[in-house]
């Protein structure tokens, strides 16, 4: 008659969960009740429970309040209620590190430990040992020795386990109790035996002879405890390993005999030990393997898991030893526990034939999304090993890895590197036929334009492995290579047989990856302007620019750069500053010029610009006249790149061209004739930030979900010159010109990971959101995920970060 648990009940009243709204100071206040007499055991036990619950939840207790509560609790020893007493022991243990002067309870505990109440003695010993130091321990030494050989198993176990804990700080004292421990080891109680043997081993482990003696003594007589058997198997294995023992050793015989133990736990421990012994032959492994084979069909998932995990290990070195289990492993391929299924498949990939590979790959693809990151690594490692073994299967295997990377690996940047690095060991120096197989596989995935960067990145990483050390930074470098150039170079490489590894440096650099041209038919929305001041400034600019006839057809102004950029030093003859105005398909560069020479007047001033990218200069709107100290403005109109819309970053070399007319400084009269002159200015940078308007999103998550992942892309980069997260965050915010959201521009102290959330609107009115995960190890690694309602802004962001 289970009452149906109603979540509403819990949330509405405090009744169903007595611990729901506990408040620390209130509870500690309640502890004052402990001082009252007579003691109400139920009430006091409940208060102790609440205190323990709070501590368990992670509530921090200060030293003073903990000590006060502790002292109040000591009053409760006056009560003989067993449950209350037990709760006191627990409280002593929980508070031993946070309260002061806890040794005050030593005498009470010692009394309990040697008293008549058997139920108190075990727990009292354990509590006492937790608060004891070396000096005090000597005082209770004889009680401990008595407790170890006590007939009551819980007392003996408590003493033995406590002695084990005390080895850390009081080894010399505990060492003196080995005789008692030896006696306890013959106990019929399975836990006592286990604890005694464990303690004996820990005391003697540096004395190899003593350990050997111990093993032979107890294994000769047989052990009662399966736990003790497991312990002895481990001890024996360790001895074998250290002695470099031959397989004729009685130690090995002991372990091998445990394969026939009646407890599964022991059998498994033995099989596992044999499998892990270095230098085992297939023959020696055989009995262990057959036991594991049986376990594969156990109804207990833990046993199937343990078995298949161990078989997987065997298959790494001795695949032939595992072949006998293939049928059982096949059955596990459809196990509902995905970890078991994965391990079965990866084992089969090692032990099965070439013909089974296709089928197994298909099977594993079907549930890749359900398995944990740890197992994804297992899969990649298995596949990497296979590529070496079955060169004819390269295409299938590489394709699987590509798919896996593209679709499944969103685990985070460390997961990504962890996968790529083993995958990159795919290509040892093999001959031309292998290279061409791989390259043709690569070429066929090039057809899918949207995936070009992902695939190329992965493949470049694979190739780079042959050149030098693996480094996730190669993903970054790879992006600077021209993709069509890469394909051409690869094609060359495969056609001409060569012993030299593929040279990445032979591929031309470019920053213009292939991307489809987008034709926008959506209405151009006005840029969002969060600040009133900026709006006003922008409106002013809009008006000024609208007054220029050449700019009539440009449409609305998207963004003006927040501050003018100086293109000259401050004390030069001509002072030029530039403001960049971004329109939907054009940019207007406004040059505010001042002539500081009082003997000249400049006329017909323009600033000529030479772009490094596919920007096209359309026209110049000159400043008619620049007399001394009177600022004037000229404009240059530039069209944004059409062929390569992602190439938004550009450097313009700037040259001022004008007619100079000499002028009398006193009269201001100017010559009629002048001469052409030019004046070199500093280069002007146009960056991605010029194409993005900052926008604040109060709820980044909601905006992220709303934009959706249709055009989501992700890349990982190493920022090799940046040493702190703060620096990285500052740089990214400045560089992208987007608005940090949810205070993510603040990096908390002493953190080596951080997530930066940025929002903006891209020219043309498209929301663009960027989530940047940063990790600081010795350099900063960054995973950038960008989402937008259009593909182009995402491509541009990733291209510009690269």
């Amino acid at each position: 008659m289970l009452k149906k648990f109603d979540k509403k009940d819990e949330e509405s009243g405090g009744g169903s969960n007595p611990f729901q709204h506990l408040e620390k100071s209130a509870v500690l206040q309640e502890a004052r009740v402990f001082n009252e007499t007579p003691i109400n055991p139920r009430k006091c036990a409940h208060i102790l429970t609440k205190i323990l619950y709070l501590i368990n939840q992670g509530e921090h207790l200060g030293t003073t309040e903990a000590t006060e509560a502790f002292f109040a609790m000591t009053k409760l020893f006056q009560s003989n209620d067993p449950t209350l007493r037990r709760m006191c022991y627990l409280t002593i243990k929980e508070m031993s590190c946070i309260a002061e002067d806890v040794i005050i309870v030593t005498s009470s505990l010692t009394k309990d430990m040697t008293g008549k109440e058997d139920n108190y003695r075990g727990p009292a010993v354990r509590a006492l040992c937790q608060i004891t130091d070396s000096t005090m321990l000597q005082a209770i030494e004889r009680y401990m020795k008595q407790a170890i050989v006590d007939k009551v198993p819980s007392v003996s176990s408590s003493a033995l386990v406590s002695s084990l804990h005390l080895l850390k700080c009081s080894f010399d004292v505990v060492k003196r109790w080995v005789n008692e421990a030896q006696e306890a080891a013959s106990s019929d109680n399975i836990m006592v035996q286990y604890h005694a043997l464990g303690l004996l081993y820990h005391v003697r482990k540096n004395d190899r002879l003593a350990v050997n003696k111990m093993i032979s003594k107890f294994t000769r007589h047989g052990l009662k405890s399966p736990f003790a058997y497991c312990m002895m198997i481990r001890v024996a294995s360790k001895q074998l390993e250290e002695e470099d023992g031959s397989r004729d050793s009685p130690l090995f015989d002991f372990i091998e005999s445990c394969l026939r133990n009646k407890h599964e736990m022991v059998v498994y421990e033995a099989a596992s030990a044999i499998v892990n012994l270095p230098g085992c032959s297939a023959k020696e492994l055989a009995p262990a393997v057959s036991v594991l084979q049986l376990f594969c069909s156990s109804p207990k998932a833990a046993l199937r898991y343990a078995a298949v995990r161990t078989l997987n290990k065997v298959a790494m070195k001795h695949p032939s030893a595992v072949t006998a289990c293939n049928l059982d492993l096949e059955n596990l391929v459809t196990d509902s526990n995905r970890s078991i299924a994965t391990l079965a498949i990866t084992t089969l990939l090692k032990t099965g034939s070439e013909s089974s590979i296709d089928r197994l790959m298909k099977q594993i693809s079907s549930f890749m999304s359900e398995i944990s990151d740890e197992f994804k690594v297992v899969v990649v490692q298995a596949i990497s090993a296979l590529c070496q073994k079955y060169p004819r299967k390269h295409a299938v295997l590489m394709n699987f890895l590509f798919t896996m990377l593209r679709e499944e690996v969103r685990a985070g940047i460390w997961g990504l590197s962890g996968l790529l690095i083993p995958a990159a060991s795919l290509l040892p120096p093999l001959g031309a036929p292998v290279r061409s197989t791989v390259c043709s596989g690569y070429r066929c995935v090039m057809d899918d334009d949207n995936e070009v960067r992902d695939r190329a990145t992965f493949y470049l990483n694979v190739l780079e492995q042959k050149q030098k050390a693996l480094n996730a930074g190669y993903i970054l470098n790879g992006l600077t290579v021209s993709i069509p150039g890469l394909e051409r170079a690869l094609q060359q490489y495969t056609l001409e047989p060569s012993e030299k590894p593929f040279d990445l440096k032979s591929v031309p650099l470019a920053t213009t990856p292939i991307a489809e041209q987008r034709t926008e038919s959506t209405p151009i929305t006005a840029a969002k302007q969060p600040e009133k001041v900026a709006a006003t400034r922008q409106e002013i600019f809009q008006e000024q620019l609208a007054a220029v006839p050449e700019f009539h057809a440009l449409g609305p102004l998207f963004k003006s750069s927040p501050e003018p950029v100086a293109l000259t030093e401050s004390e030069t003859e001509y002072v030029i500053r530039c403001t960049k105005h971004t329109f939907t398909d054009h940019m207007v560069f406004q040059f505010d010029c001042t002539n500081t020479l009082n003997d000249q007047t400049l006329e017909n001033v323009t600033v000529q610009m030479e772009p490094t990218e596919a920007y096209e200069v359309l026209c110049y709107v000159p400043a008619r006249s620049l007399p001394y100290n009177q600022p004037g403005t000229c404009y240059t109109l530039v069209a944004l790149p059409k062929e390569d819309p992602t190439a938004v970053a550009c450097t313009f070399s700037c040259m001022m061209k004008f007619t100079v007319k000499d002028c009398d400084p006193t009269t201001g009269e100017t010559d009629d004739e002048g001469y052409e002159d030019e004046y070199v200015l500093e280069d002007l940078e146009v960056t991605v930030a010029d194409h993005i308007q900052k926008v604040m999103k109060l709820n980044f998550e909601a905006a992220w979900d709303e934009v959706g992942d249709e055009f989501e892309k992700e890349e990982t980069f190493t920022l090799s010159t940046i040493k702190t997260l703060e620096e990285a965050v500052g740089n990214i915010v400045k560089f992208l010109g987007m608005h940090p959201c949810e205070r993510s521009d603040k990096v908390p102290d002493n953190k080596n990971t951080h997530t930066l959330l940025l929002a903006g609107v891209f020219r043309g009115g498209h929301d663009i959101l960027v989530r940047s995960r940063l990790l600081l190890l010795d350099t900063v690694t960054m995973q950038v995920t960008a989402r937008s309602s259009e593909e182009l802004p995402v491509d541009i962001i990733l291209a510009s970060v690269g």
Binding site: N56, P82, N119, E269, K300, K313, K317, S336, N337, E374
Partner: protein, 160 residues
């Protein structure tokens, strides 16, 4: 994951956790400093809850640790050990904990009953694992020690 032999040790359990339906901590005992701060502990709990509460799989490898688990109505029980640990040993601890509680809660292994018997839970865990060492594996023994004797048990339940 192919490792040469670990130092034999009685220290087998890294943590015991009981989470509710929302993945929130009802009980947690960490026996070593794998997750030293409360913040890291809670992050770990959240992670394993997310990865396990939808499946019925009993055992998983998460964050490099072996996790054995069991659920009942609105409770999730976890025993955590290193990835080199004998999985069956960890299962023995899990089963002992679960069976002990099952007896103490008269088969109502669910959140409300557990919260009403937190003393019993604290005491039971204290009897099963001490400082990371398996203290007792027999649920009968555990229940006996927690409830002292039949007489005490009746007295206790009358007082509720």
């Amino acid at each position: 994951m192919f490792i040469s032999l670990q130092e034999p040790s009685l220290y087998t359990v890294k943590a015991i956790l009981i989470l509710d339906n929302d993945g929130d901590r009802l009980f947690a005992k960490y026996y070593d400093d794998t997750y030293p701060s409360v913040k890291e502990q809670k992050a770990f709990e959240k992670n394993i809850f997310n990865k396990t509460h939808r499946t019925d799989s009993e055992i998983a490898l998460l964050e490099g640790l072996t996790v054995v688990y069991k659920s009942s109505i609105d409770l999730y029980f976890y025993v955590i050990g290193s990835s080199y640990e004998n999985e069956l040993m960890l299962m023995a601890v899990l089963n002992c904990l679960f069976d002990s509680l099952s007896q103490m809660l008269r088969k109502n292994v669910e959140k409300r009953a557990l919260l009403e018997n937190m003393e019993g839970l604290f005491l039971a865990v204290d009897e099963i694992v001490d400082g990371g060492v398996i203290l007792e594996s027999d649920p009968q023994q555990v229940v006996h020690r927690v409830l002292q004797s039949a007489k005490e048990q009746i007295k206790w339940s009358l007082l509720r």
